[in-house]
């Protein structure tokens, strides 16, 4: 009798990890529609355009500061 209890107990204990692991195993939802329709490229194009604009702006600032540096070098001497 005692052996049977021990067997049942250990069987249940061994099942616990399996029960914990058993999460709903359906397919994970991703933005597959957005990709297959090609609309994701619209988003990429917008982000790349925005970033390019910002970079061009920083380049123009960089150039202006370079010009100021030259002028201030000349006026100092």
């Amino acid at each position: 009798m005692y052996k049977l209890y021990a067997f049942l107990f250990s069987a249940i204990v061994m099942l616990i990890p399996a029960m914990l692991m058993a999460q709903p195993n359906g397919p994970v939802e991703m933005a597959d529609g957005l990709r297959s329709s090609g609309k994701i490229y619209v988003v990429v194009a917008v982000i790349v355009t925005l970033f390019t604009g910002l970079v061009l702006y920083i380049i123009s600032l960089d150039r202006k500061i370079s010009k100021l540096e030259k002028e201030s070098d000349q006026s100092h001497r």
Binding site: V28, V44, I47, I58, D62, R63
Partner: protein
């Protein structure tokens, strides 16, 4: 002309790659985060970039204390400025992501709280800087404070969060972003994104430093 151009081009190319590759390359299909896992390419580089930028800031603070050259103080303050912006952006983007992944923008997660504390420590640095008029005294006091603030940066962002349970991944005994924590294909975008954001931040900071050098030319004797 743009000075020493190659690393600025590298920064732009790496960020373009991070934007395009970050949206188009495949990512692991995981529950809860789903497609928002791509935020790893944009939210986490803010923190990594901040840590690099704050390191540059503290190195310049030490160089100031050794040489008493005010140029190092200007650099130290400018890098800390950029670093705090990256930190604030990291906190805000984290809250946006948390709203969807954890159900609330602020969950009093240990990493959220300590990141906010790290930012507050650095905000005090700017209060300190703006409250002293004497340039040399300001430079000296803020350089010393910078070292203390830096000494708290890595404990608050990396060490202390490990002592508690966090909603953030990667805190379970192993260093964050170890081999198991990040998928190999994601690593191909993540690290270029970190380098790109860091270089981009350095670029913006150098613009500010160069502007201050022109303004304070009479004091700097350069």
């Amino acid at each position: 002309m743009i000075q020493k151009t190659w690393w600025k081009i590298l920064a732009v190319v790496l960020l373009l790659y991070a934007f395009i590759g970050g949206l188009l390359l495949p990512v692991p299909r995981l529950p809860i985060v789903n497609e928002s896992i791509r935020n790893l390419y944009y939210h986490v580089p803010m923190w990594f970039g901040m840590m690099v930028i704050m390191t540059v800031s503290v190195v310049n603070a030490i160089l100031y204390l050794r040489s008493k050259n005010l140029l190092y103080d200007i650099r130290s303050g400018a890098y800390a400025n950029t670093g705090i912006i990256l930190g604030i952006l990291g906190l805000v983007t984290g809250a946006i992501w948390a709203n969807y992944a954890w159900g609330a923008p602020w969950s009093n997660d240990i990493k959220q709280i300590l990141a906010a504390i790290a930012l507050l420590i650095y905000l005090a640095y700017f209060v300190l800087r703006s409250s002293i008029d004497d340039m040399d005294k300001k430079a000296r006091v803020s350089a010393v404070y910078n070292i203390f603030a830096y000494a708290m940066l890595f404990p608050t962002l990396f060490i202390l969060p490990r002592l508690y349970d966090s909603l953030h991944p990667g805190g379970e005994g192993n260093p964050a972003l170890s081999q198991q924590d990040i998928d190999p294909t994601m690593r191909m975008v993540f690290w270029p994104a970190v380098l790109g954001w860091t270089l981009f931040s350095v670029w913006i900071t150098t613009l500010f430093v160069r502007y201050r050098k022109i303004l304070d030319k009479n004091i700097l004797h350069v």
